[in-house]
Amino acid sequence: MVVEEERDLETIDIHVNVGPQHPATHGVFRMVLTVSGEKVVDVVPHIGYMHRGAEKLSENMDYRQALIYQDRTEYLAQFNAEMCYVMAVEKLAGIEVPERAEYIRVILAELNRITSHYMFVGAFATDLGVYGTIFTYAFREREYIQELFESVSGDRMMYGYFRPGGVVWDVSADFKERVRWLCKQTRVGINDIERLLTRNEIFVARCRDIGAIAAEDAIDYGLSGPMLRASGVPVDLRREEPYSIYDRFDFDIPVGERGDVYDRYLVRMEEMRQSVRIVEQALEQMPEGPVLPEKLPRRLRPPLGEVYMRTENPRGEYGIYLVSKGGEKPYRLKIRSSCFCNLMALKEMVVGHYVADAVIILGSVDIVLGEVDR
């Protein structure tokens, strides 16, 4: 008996290329989505469009010069990246850092965390389809802090202000006053954005239970930073292995429950408030004094050895692995990129969701392509 096969209309999955020139990719990231209708069935990420060889270039610079590549890799949290690098060099060369310099570094790094998260929330809201309103609000607040950075370091983006041993020059006399005002203003700014976004019904409907990743999976993928904490793992390097002077401050670690896009947003917003708290405490405790050690050699020649330094950057764990074989230049410099590792979970998070969700999940990873590609 011949049974006639019943044939439905033939459907094929199409490949949609997102990026490298696409508003949702925050730089030059490219992902090829395989979509069945509106559902994503597969995603293939492509990176490397912004690879500039920062690690290799650093090997041809002496220890102070190599610092500038930190600004250029992590271009949204430059002070944090610089801090990680200079602490690695200090550990390698055994340099003692003056108290005042430590405080200046922590204040600037925490403020930089705030600017980075402002950037996140502005771009994330734009991914969600807000017509730039959150973006402009976030950028106004970011600009206040940016102006401080500019006056402190002399540059708006590539600060190059930290040095192995301290910071280049002392901050101006009105620094404390300005930072106090910034703390007050930042609290207002965060509230402005939260009032517009956090409990907005559409925002919640878009973000709840999207791109959720369980705590075990998050650990297995090697996620770090807000991504990991949103999944419910209370790991913050500032607390786990307090570097610099972070053991002197009193702050909370926000932890999410579901590990979805919404929790990542909430964790970041709360982290900004905690950063303000740290900055305020640091301002209270900040002593007077020199910002560079008295007997800092003009040319650093660390002894043979290797060192790995990791810090809690806005996007997660940022690590610098340095090898010295004597001489003025690092023999090898390896950057452990936080976004690169966070991006690895992209497929796990995106597959099964809609095309529109893929965009906001990518936004919630908060990638900086300069850091991913290095």
């Binding site: 807000v130 730039g132 409990r199 009193d250 909370d252 926000p254 929790d263």
Partner: protein, 371 residues
């Protein structure tokens, strides 16, 4: 003199100059709206908007127009030529045609149709054809996705739109727009039909594919949807002209049938210029509301968009029709209309709020450390 009068009495000449007036009005309104939108959204976003061309940038639309006209007319090599070149007109012509049926003042419109509302609904649904053809003809995956989305969206939202307007015409007892305005008198229908107005306005925003319902264009995902491959004058016709003309027409309809058109609560017979001021003020307030929503809301997802239409708006529209029918059949007083409709709206609002409410802030664990 009498000859000239005869000339204007000729039905074709009469239709021609009336159409000409509406066409000029439409072009002016589109130019003004592009400027107003940039300014209004600029202010909401703490920007100034255009400031360089002329005082306060009022010449910006002219500059934009010149730019758009002078741009190269690009067509992708693999595009379907006929579909690609036809699409802007398929979208734009219906958007303009609806203006034909709209009375601007008590005695002036291109034509007063006895089934004007029906005509409006029928024709205002047609631009979706242009979007589909544009999306298909562009031979671009983003455009195709956007076209499919806009087809699903616009056709779905047409249903509650029609039902909300139908519920209203039950009260008015007519589909003639002039009659509907006359029937409202001193109390506009928005007072008796808050739920109907809510459904109407939501569907208008959706019809215009504006935030929060702009999934078809979705700049951050589909980079412009069906419009992605268009540039220059074609883009201008397909996107700017169609969108702002539709916006003008739909808000004009809203101000006619829900906000009382050229009537106001403080008496009548104030002359055609006053009627014009009234109706344009009402239209402008609706347009500003839409722009406000545009600047504030995130975008909903495709499935949420459809669910909102079929699971919420459509039942609500049916409830509104049922309530109106009940009240009209039993001849209950007018205030029961307000009571029932308002109550239904409040319940719907609470349902949305209760299902999406976020309880409590993110859990924070406090780990204290010894200083």
């Amino acid at each position: 003199m009498s000859q000239l009068g005869d000339f204007f009495d000729n039905v074709w000449v009469d239709a021609f100059w009336r159409l000409l007036v509406v066409l000029v009005l439409m072009v002016v309104v589109v130019l003004v709206l592009t400027y107003v939108e940039r300014k209004v959204i600029g202010r909401i976003q703490m920007r100034l908007g255009p400031m360089r061309t002329g005082p306060y940038g009022i010449l910006q639309p002219i500059a934009d127009m010149i730019k758009v006209l002078l741009k190269e007319d690009l067509r992708p090599a693999t595009a379907d030529r006929v579909a690609f070149e036809l699409a802007p007109f398929l979208a734009f012509v219906p958007a303009f045609l609806v203006l034909v049926a709209i009375p601007f003042t008590e005695g002036w419109g291109v034509r007063v149709l006895s089934l004007g509302l029906l005509y409006f609904i029928a024709v205002s649904g047609l631009p979706v054809l242009g979007y589909i053809v544009a999306g298909w003809g562009s031979d671009n995956k983003y455009a195709l996705l956007g076209a499919m989305r806009s087809a699903a969206q616009l056709i779905s939202y047409e249903v509650p739109f029609v039902l909300a307007v139908l519920a209203l015409s039950m009260l008015a007892g007519s589909l003639n727009l002039v009659d509907i305005v006359e029937r409202q008198g001193r109390v506009p229908f928005i007072v008796w039909q808050p739920l109907g107005f809510f459904i109407f306005l939501t569907c208008v925003i959706s019809d215009l594919t504006r935030r929060p319902f702009d999934t078809a264009a979705a700049e951050s995902e589909l980079v412009g949807g069906p419009w992605i491959e268009f540039s220059g004058i074609r883009w201008s016709i397909l996107y700017a002209l169609t969108e702002y003309t539709s916006m003008f027409a739909l808000t004009l309809l809203g101000s006619l049938i829900f906000l009382g058109g050229w009537d106001w609560p403080l008496g009548r017979d104030l002359g055609w210029w006053w009627q014009l001021i009234l109706i344009f003020t009402k239209t402008a307030s609706l347009i500003l509301f839409i722009m406000w929503a545009t600047a504030t809301f995130p975008r909903v997802r495709v499935d949420q968009l459809m669910a909102f239409c079929w699971k919420l708006l459509l039942p609500l529209a049916l409830v509104q029709i049922f309530l109106n029918g009940l009240i009209l059949v039993y001849g209950w007083p007018d205030w029961t209309l307000l009571l029932t409709s308002g109550l239904a709206l409040a319940v719907a609002g609470y349902v949305i709020y209760a299902t999406l409410r976020v309880r409590g802030p993110v859990r924070t664990i406090a780990l204290r450390s010894g200083a």
